[in-house]
Symmetry: C2
Subunit: 216 residues, 2 copies
DNA sequence: CTCAAAATGTTGCAAATGCAACAACCATTT
DNA sequence: AAATGGTTGTTGCATTTGCAACATTTTGAG
């Protein structure tokens, strides 16, 4: 297993990473696309580290309304203690978007100093620090999107965020149906709005390929 | 200054806290209600710790649209590195809701180990950890609220969250105008909806006092 | 290949919401 | 007391949005 690309272990040698695994009681699992990676009511204080592939955190409320909470790519971490409140007791799951590989460790083992006082434990804490900061950033981005009043503004806001890393032409990192859940809009209404946006010359859209046309 | 109630310093003796202040280059300031506590484009890598009073983080976009991003009470921390993306380059400020007292420290001084290697520095990092986790929780709560489709659902979601800590009868922690910004709805439309909710027997509302009536 | 399930695209209609404009109220300052 | 600025409450109207229902296309499994 190559951990060199995983941010959580940055600055920690591969050999030492393996050594740390026993402290953490790390467990490795692989999942097929569509499988449930993490089921919140059950998964206690475990932290998941996405080693390979991608997944989406999905909340389903009592009315069956679905909303996308977070999107995980390689290197991202997730877990109940890390990220969210489940106020309403809704069902919250992480679903594999593609085949993926995940490492699970106990949160409590990370935050408390282990008896052996691994030298690299504190570095790991620092890394974790940075990852959580990154996560708050993405949550905050989501809030920026959701706080727009109209579906059009929400979409434009999201597209501009994507464009900042990918340029004015990019591919949606999720299905249109998921996108609707992500911006918290009705799918059909959103599709209608996407058409209008194209008609108004704001974007060009072809399947999942999108091109921002106007600078703004 | 009494730090015993500030989560960031939990488990660190008062005398040692004072000792640490020099490492951090802590600066203390007081603000009147309505004053600007923190202005993001300018305030670099500083972390604010709310020692006394309360404040609100407000984003204003290019159209003058206002949205409340976070609400800070005693013990909460805030800062650019901690929480948010400013994608659009909008104006983001922290405004004192009441008279308040804030301590500012440099983020970089917290994350990097200081030369003196204070014994308690690592405890501070652990505490900071917990605070950020708490922050992600509140961001995630906000997302839970914003991802509801209707204004009524947003409000009920928020009220239930408040009720969990305060019981079925509580006082709004912000003005109605701010509440509208928080749930990202038009103020007048929200007021209208609040009346309807009362008419429908869901809540009783009197100024800022709210009572949840139906269990659900 | 074939079938079933899921995703996508489209439309009409009713309801919710934003918007604008206004009046009433409150607190603070002069 | 008067003036000022901010918050609150209300209403009519145009627009947006959600919702439901349906046809079409794509995907995946056997």
């Amino acid at each position: 297993m190559d951990f060199s690309k995983i941010d959580l272990f940055e600055g920690i040698k591969g050999s030492e990473v393996n050594c740390m695994m026993s402290c953490f009681g790390a467990v490795f699992r692989t999942f097929r696309a569509g499988a449930t990676v993490y089921d919140y009511p059950e998964s206690g204080d475990e932290v998941g580290v996405m080693l390979k592939g991608g997944a989406t955190m999905i909340r389903t409320d009592e009315n069956g309304e679905v909303s996308v909470m977070e999107i995980f790519a390689e290197g991202d971490i997730f877990g109940e203690v890390l990220a969210f409140s489940n106020a309403a007791g809704d069902s919250v799951k992480v679903i594999a978007e593609s085949d993926c590989e995940v490492m699970f460790i106990k949160y409590s083992q990370i935050t408390k100093r282990c008896e052996k006082a691994c030298e690299h434990h504190s570095r790991l804490v620092q890394n974790m620090f940075g990852l959580i900061a990154k996560k708050t950033l993405s949550l905050s981005q989501r809030i920026e999107i959701l706080s727009k009043r109209s579906t059009r503004d929400k979409l434009m806001c999201y597209f501009r965020i994507l464009a900042r890393t990918c340029g004015d032409e990019f591919e949606l990192p999720m299905s249109v149906t998921r996108l609707a859940a992500y911006v918290s809009a009705d799918r059909s209404a959103m599709t209608r709005e996407l058409s209008r946006m194209q008609a108004d010359g704001l974007i060009e859209i072809n399947k999942k390929k999108i091109r921002l046309k106007k600078v703004c």
